[in-house]
């Protein structure tokens, strides 16, 4: 048995099998459990090392698998990455039933997750661009149900993600040339520019992120949230493998500055735009743009922090997004709209749902005591050491996001004097959001709890991990 079989082929088979159950609860439970099991296997099973089961029997999980002449290999250093990806995916799958989308999200989500893992494992690694494109295509039915006419957001999502592929493939083709003749400045410029453009489309760098607020108005917030977690995370890991592989790219003098500029642009524009939204879903969309900005900033600091800040950001961002998306889905299912005008005063009817929504929002805006505060503080401090003006722009973006949260709070508490407090939402919805809130608070006070999981993650990237 090989590692790619367990973490790529098996999840694809599971994705097909998970279409069978007719009850959403069962699909969600089985999907969550499967993903959790895959994460546990990644934590426990050593790859490419013989495991002695008894005096006569031993077991070895090989690292590679050949498909159509291409090599797919997962090394033991990549184990913690698999724990992180499947662990967080299980979180999304468990919550999908409460969001009313389990029967679509779990099978499709499992397949997309497996494909993204494949994109990290394929050799030659440029094939990853094709696998990511496949995953994007599979995501379409998740974001746009079969009987529904696709909106502008989904079409634009597809256009931008598809445009990314040729840029990355061209860049990869040129990179081979750069490796053989590193002194050729013209070639370096061309490949770096193409690569930057490719990743700009994939990561939805300003102004290519217009599909995010549009799609959130059209599709189920939970499904969009899942894609907005998985797609940037996988793209970032793909980007890291580029940086890790090519020394000239890693040591490119302008790289930290370019990453910093892109990150600050994302944070400032995303944050300021979030401050003026009147739709709760769009606000979450802009928050994910800010999240991407922070990941870019953390990468810009890789010479000081290696990848510690980057990996420290991933879990709180994913947790916050999951709670936020679930809360929005519950509200949309029950109230039918996420417009400010329709949710005025509703905190008294959905206190737990709004607590989740607001704390996730405040966490994204780096309110102290909440999960995203410690990593954002670390990144902010790192940026301040380099440029105080940059830190000020970052602060402006956070202030914008915080303003959005305050506006949501102000609108949601404006209930009439005669209305009473009551708890609506199902038992499952409230429990899951409650657990999410608890973890957001715990990680805000004790971020060191993540340390044992994160400490080995950078090892997957030999040169960047330090």
């Amino acid at each position: 048995m090989s590692a790619p079989f367990i973490w790529i082929i098996l999840p694809i088979i599971l994705a097909i099998l998970l279409w069978i159950p007719r009850r959403a609860n069962i699909t969600a439970f089985l999907g969550g459990l499967s993903a959790l099991f895959l994460a546990a296997l990644a934590w426990l099973l050593p790859i490419d090392t013989a495991l002695r089961l008894s005096a006569t029997v031993s077991f070895k999980l090989s690292a590679s698998l050949e498909i159509l002449g291409r090599q797919i290999s997962i090394s033991s250093e990549e184990g913690p990455l698999l724990v992180l990806i499947y662990g967080i995916a299980s979180l999304w799958f468990f919550g999908s039933s409460a969001a009313g989308i389990a029967r679509r999200l779990v099978p499709i989500g499992m397949a997309i997750t497996a494909l993204f893992v494949a994109s990290l494992a394929v050799e030659p690694f440029l094939y990853a661009a094709l696998i990511i494109q496949t995953a994007t295509l599979i995501a379409v039915p998740l974001l746009s149900p079969p009987k529904q006419k696709p909106g502008r957001g989904i079409i634009r999502f597809l256009i931008y993600q598809t445009l990314a592929m040729p840029f990355i493939l061209f860049a990869g083709w040129l990179l081979a040339g750069v490796e053989s003749s590193p002194g050729d400045i013209e070639l370096v410029v061309q490949s770096a520019t193409l690569l930057a453009l490719g990743f700009s489309f994939l990561l939805a760098i300003f102004p290519l992120y217009t599909w995010i607020p549009l799609i959130i108005e059209e599709a189920t917030p939970y499904a969009v949230g899942f894609i907005l977690w998985l797609l940037p995370s996988a793209t970032f890991l793909f980007m890291l493998s580029f940086l890790d592989r090519y020394a000239w790219l890693r040591e490119f003098p302008q790289l930290p500055m370019a990453l910093r500029a892109a990150g600050l642009l994302m944070i400032t524009t995303g944050g300021i735009w979030a401050a003026f939204q009147r739709h709760l879903g769009r606000m979450m969309g802009y928050a994910t743009i800010v999240n991407t900005g922070f990941l870019l900033l953390s990468l810009s600091l890789f010479r000081d922090y290696q990848l510690s800040a980057f990996f420290l950001l991933l879990t709180p961002q994913a947790l916050g997004l999951a709670v936020w998306a679930l809360a929005l889905s519950v509200l949309k299912l029950r109230e039918g709209s996420l417009e400010f005008s329709d949710i005025q005063g509703t905190i008294q009817r959905y206190p737990i749902v709004f607590t989740g929504l607001l704390l996730a929002h405040f966490s994204a805006a780096a309110l102290p005591l909440l999960a995203s505060f410690p990593p954002i503080l670390a990144v902010w401090e790192g940026i301040a050491r380099q440029t105080l003006v940059g830190a000020l722009w970052l602060g402006a973006g956070l202030a914008g996001l915080f303003t959005g949260a305050i506006r949501t709070l102000a609108v949601s508490v404006m209930a009439s004097e005669k209305s009473f407090w009551e708890i609506n939402g199902s038992w499952l919805q409230n429990t899951l959001i409650g657990i999410g809130v608890l973890f957001i608070l715990i990680l805000g006070v004790f971020p060191q709890l993540l340390h044992p999981l994160l400490v080995n993650l950078p090892l997957a990237f030999e040169h960047l991990g330090g």
Partner: protein, 519 residues
């Protein structure tokens, strides 16, 4: 260890109270348990004195190289005075609870003890990170409590604005840390770089409620009086400690005289409103703002001990007044005795309040002394107000416990005059104290004779301050709507059918810039 013991006593008692309410709702000794917990915590504070300064390291954040300052608690002679005041406030709140309408109220008692614990965490914070965490905990507790207890859109909007202002204050403290990081040092309270001091000052000013100045919450009076007082004063104490921690060396900014001018204006305005207010609880923000302004002025005049003196007087003097709900000749005299310890007289709590390490900006002293006298004369008037219930109508148990609750404040006020912290047993600038007392008596004598000194509602002139605040808010909202329309226009362009072309145009622009930059 002693720090941990005190905090554990407070939190465990609160937890026990809540568990008992949940599983044994008919438990009859909840109040006794709450008072016993508060009293034990109060006693444990005296043991801190045996081995001061005390340090308590909390679990460090990891990876360590990302977080330069781990959360740390430090109890020294300045923070001890605040910690002692907070636990005294909790004890006083619980003892006087017997005379309030909502007795028994187990959640409010648990809340009082928890707030006291969180307040101590804030007060003992040894670095900005720890302080910001404790501040946010207090802010969230205050937000949830007030949203749960006030009704009506306008009042709730004010609660949200107050929360925003406090978080903004926390943001300024974080910014001070970032400015320090940019200067190549990590921000701590011992050696803050001179660029950071001004932001720390703004942080404290914002959190103490300089903006917006008045936030009356029309809530149930029992909540306002007991738990409400605890909440307001804990929040104030947690902000005031920062004033004692800002090193004067970091306050070398050309803006300092202007800030001192603004602080003086805030002190005069709030003390004036305090004197003229009709309802003591409605006027509570003015007391906080007035005394807080004097504490801020002390920091600006390089007198951190003085700022602690003002801060402790705010908590203990204010707590005693706001918790008093019974009327009796002797009780009134007890309240009035408190004025002595707040008048900057020798060997009293505020003896060091008017000392200064800097000789410049003496021109601000007369208006600040006037504000002090106005605050004391207002205190005198509110202590003698007739709106309280008659002491004799209470049951014997309440008649025994209630005076004890008021006396504990008075005991603390006088004890801190000669023992326990750096400002104790000091002569200070006694003639300022004497002058303030004389001015106070003059104002009391003038009150029935000068119409302007009478309560606001009895006067025909409407204060002009509201209008100017409205103008300020209108200007703010004008800017907000302008930016909102601008962002909407840009969004419409980028999200419309032609948006893809615009995006591609931007991309080509970026690509040309990028390749130009690389060359």
């Amino acid at each position: 260890m002693p720090i941990l013991i005190t905090i554990l006593i407070l939190f465990l008692t609160a937890l026990t109270l809540l568990l008992l309410r949940l599983f044994r709702p008919d438990f009859r000794y909840s109040w006794l348990l709450a008072v016993a917990g508060a009293f034990l915590a109060w006693l444990s504070l005296f043991f801190w004195q045996l081995d001061m300064p005390l340090v308590l390291s909390l679990p460090p954040w990891e990876p360590a190289f990302l977080f330069s300052d781990p959360p740390l608690l430090l109890a020294d002679h300045l923070s001890w005075a605040y910690a002692f005041s907070l636990v005294t406030l909790a004890l006083g709140t619980l003892l006087t609870a017997v005379a309030r309408e909502n007795f028994p109220s187990v959640p409010a008692w648990a809340g009082t003890l928890s707030l006291s614990g969180i307040g101590i965490l804030a007060i003992l914070a040894d670095n900005p990170l720890t302080l910001v965490l404790a501040w946010t905990a207090i802010d969230l507790v205050e937000l949830v409590t007030l949203l749960g207890s006030v009704h009506g859109k306008e009042l709730r909007e004010r609660v949200v604005i107050a929360f925003t202002m406090r978080v903004l204050g926390s943001g300024f403290l974080l910014w001070a840390g970032l400015v320090s990081a940019a200067a190549g040092t990590s921000l701590n309270f011992v050696a803050a770089p001179k660029q950071a001091g001004i932001y720390m000052l703004i942080a404290a000013g914002l959190r103490m409620g300089v903006l917006p100045i008045h936030l009356p919450f029309k809530t149930e009076s029992a909540l306002r009086q007991g738990y409400g007082t605890m909440l307001r004063l804990t929040s104030a104490a947690s902000s005031l400690i920062l004033l004692a921690r800002i090193p004067f060396s970091s306050l070398h900014s050309p803006l300092i005289p202007y800030i001192l001018g603004l602080v003086t204006l805030a002190a005069l305005y709030s003390s004036w409103m305090w004197v003229r207010a009709t309802n003591t609880l409605d006027a509570r923000p003015y007391w906080q703002l007035g005394m807080g302004s004097l504490a801020l002025a002390a920091t600006l005049r390089a007198n951190p001990v003085g700022s602690v003196a003002w801060g402790v007087a705010l908590i203990l003097g204010g707590g005693m007044l706001f918790l008093s709900s019974l009327h009796n000749k002797w009780l009134n005299r007890l309240l009035l005795l408190g004025i002595l310890s707040m008048a900057a007289l020798p060997i009293t709590l505020t003896a060091t309040a008017w000392e200064s390490q800097v000789s410049s900006w003496w021109g601000f002293l007369p208006p600040l002394l006037l504000a002090h006298a106005l605050l004391l004369s207002g205190y005198f008037r509110h202590a003698r107000r007739a709106e309280k219930k008659e002491f004799k109508t209470q049951n014997p148990f309440a008649r025994l416990m209630y005076p004890l609750g008021i006396s504990v404040f008075l005991f603390a006020l006088f004890l801190l005059g000669f023992w326990g912290w750096q400002g104790a047993f000091s002569i200070g600038i006694w003639f300022f104290g004497a002058g303030v007392i004389l001015l106070m008596f003059l104002l009391i004598w003038l009150r029935p004779r000068v119409r302007a000194l009478n309560p606001l509602q009895a006067h025909w002139i409407k204060p002009d301050t509201e209008r100017s605040f409205h103008r300020l808010y209108s200007a703010f909202w004008g800017l907000y709507y302008f930016l909102r329309n601008l962002s909407r226009q840009i969004s419409n362009i980028l999200e419309s059918d032609g948006g893809i072309l615009w995006a591609l145009l931007f991309i080509i622009l970026f690509a040309s810039l990028l390749s130009g930059g690389i060359r």
